[in-house]
Amino acid sequence: MTTTKTAKPPNPPTGGGLGNAAKTVLRSRWIGPIGLLIGAIAPILIATPYAMNVMTSALIFVMLAVGLNIVVGQCGLLDLGYAAFFAVGAYTSGILATRLHWPLLATIPAVIVVTVLAGIVVGGPTLRLRSDYLAIVTLGFGEIIRVTANNLSITGGPEGIYGIPSLSVGGVDLSNSVVFYYVVLAIVACAVLGANRLIRSRLGRAWRFIREDEDAAEAMGVHTYRVKMAAYIAGAVWGGLAGVLFGAQLSAISPASFTFLQSALVLMAVVLGGMGSTPGVVIGALFVTMLPEALRGLSDYRYFAFGALLIIVMVLRPQGLWPARTRETARTARRSATFDGEVRIR
């Protein structure tokens, strides 16, 4: 950091009443219930099939982003192949549901087992590596999963799997778009809440400690390998469950849905929202899914704009648009900022 930046605390109060008001809302403990309420009211206001479709996709994306936030935002492990876990979940449930005719609900335990295994398989050998290697290896892993799905016959090759049944509970069909939306809303709300509980737990503190300074964490007795693995597995399970919802929503999946682009978009949601802050990440995910719908005419410029936006946000606000609330006092914040500056001029 430059000297001018070191003098500032990490979260300088932004000028303007609107910014402060938004900050107060975002930091209020009512933010979760309010968000849920807005989500619950939305179909009453607008219930066209198109709108329901977009909103359901946005919710599934929120789940992905919250899962990736555990890995990247909390633990500081850059995962560029997150769509792989999404794919593993979607394919596992899709194959079980179409080939073995399991009900979709029954595939969920299998999905959890398989995604945990996938997390261990890719995390096991690579989590001892530092960030850059991990980033590329996860990227390679994402490609491996996509190419494999593209070439195996059990995954249906390039056409993928179609005819995946929708969710049903005890014979009650939930495929109506509004009903399905509410089911997804409930599941995603639980997922967000669950991620938040994890983040606030002892394990969550260990994750943040590793993100801030892995060596110090190790020295303080945190079993960094095991703790990183826990973050990785948690992220994998969240991604896999989002994959189940995705398959149920579209009733068809194909390798084209699980490209690097998808991984990058989830990462984008996490970064834009503010790495590590749950409300921020939820809003980031909604932003990333809703904005392109609003700007359909600009479709060609969309991903270019995404790339440029990633750079701009990182250069101007490295903490993201809505950074995580820190409980540090101003004094410790100032001290850790200076400390940062001294170490990182490498």
Partner: protein
């Protein structure tokens, strides 16, 4: 058998050229330049634009014209690399590594989809196609064009190696790689040297792009993504940050893929390469020629 080895060496020389730039930037800045593969794509497109606009000359002087175009494309991609460094990487040089990696992903996206806006989503057919005559060596069919391209690749690598090991700039680069703060105290203009490293690395990637375009005959805006991954894999296999390692890694990866394609089929080639990378990293994280990286605290 000889044919498999030859194909591997040929593909490997492309990988090695791109991997060199990767390794160079990583060695100096400890930054994985995700946009590096896209500079390869940019080089292919600059070469394409130049060749189509001078199509009158190229009909007669194909190889000479191609070399001129190659040089111009190298300058173009080199400048693009410097611009990316200035805009996206330099402001974050003292920021956490994660932010820097994310801007690199952003730069990669901006290049890919920026090129898509300019050139359209469809693949373009390269105006110069190096097919032509071939010679038979030990039962393998080797194109003359392949020989020329390998020759150019080797010449570029030798020049770079000499530059880094013998010249003043090269010494400055090695000094920064070792300790940027001390290098600055000793009067090295760190920003300038890093910009130079970006210029050279990007120019090499651009050269590989033009060569690949004229050899494979078709280019598209996403062609850099997979080669970026492969080049990184090559750099890691050789030991990232080491020049000889990048060259060796490129050749090794090319050979591996060539044999993998032969025995497993072409559609599994990429899976094979990345699975090998993951396995390799678990066994030998510092690569074949890499030194043990000491953590600077």
């Amino acid at each position: 058998m000889t044919q498999i080895i030859w194909n591997g060496l040929f593909v490997g020389s492309f990988y090695a050229l791109v991997a060199l730039g990767y390794s160079m930037v990583y060695g100096i800045m400890k930054l994985l330049n995700f946009a590096h593969g896209d500079l390869y794509m940019l080089g292919a497109f600059i070469g394409f634009a130049l060749l189509t606009s001078f199509s009158g000359f190229t009909a007669t002087l194909s190889l000479v014209a191609l070399l001129v175009v190659l040089l111009l494309s190298m300058v173009g991609t080199g400048l693009a690399g410097v611009a990316i460094e200035r805009i996206a990487y330099r402001p974050l040089r003292s920021a956490p590594r994660l932010s820097l990696l994310i801007t690199a992903v952003g730069a990669s996206f901006a290049l890919e989809y920026g090129m898509r806006i300019i050139a359209g989503p469809n693949p373009q057919v390269y105006p110069v196609r190096l097919g032509g005559s071939s010679v038979h060596v030990l039962g393998a069919r080797i194109g003359v064009a392949q020989l020329v391209l390998i020759g150019v690749a080797i010449a570029l690598m030798v020049t770079l190696n000499a530059m880094v090991m013998r010249s003043r700039q090269g010494r400055a680069m090695r000094a920064i790689a070792l300790d940027p703060v001390a290098a600055r105290l000793m009067g090295v203009d760190v920003n300038r040297v890093i910009a130079q490293a970006f210029f050279i690395g990007s120019a090499l990637a651009g050269a590989a792009g033009v060569m690949a375009g004229s050899y494979y005959g078709s280019i598209n805006f996403l062609m850099g993504f997979i080669i970026g991954l492969k080049a990184f894999t090559a750099a890691v296999i050789g030991g990232i940050g080491s020049f000889k390692g990048a060259m060796l890694g490129g050749v090794v990866l090319g050979l591996l893929e060539s044999f993998g394609t032969h025995f497993l089929g072409g559609q599994w080639r990429d899976v094979f390469a990345f699975a090998f990378l993951i396995l390799f990293l678990t066994v030998r994280p510092t690569g074949l020629l890499g030194e043990r990286v000491t953590e600077r605290v």
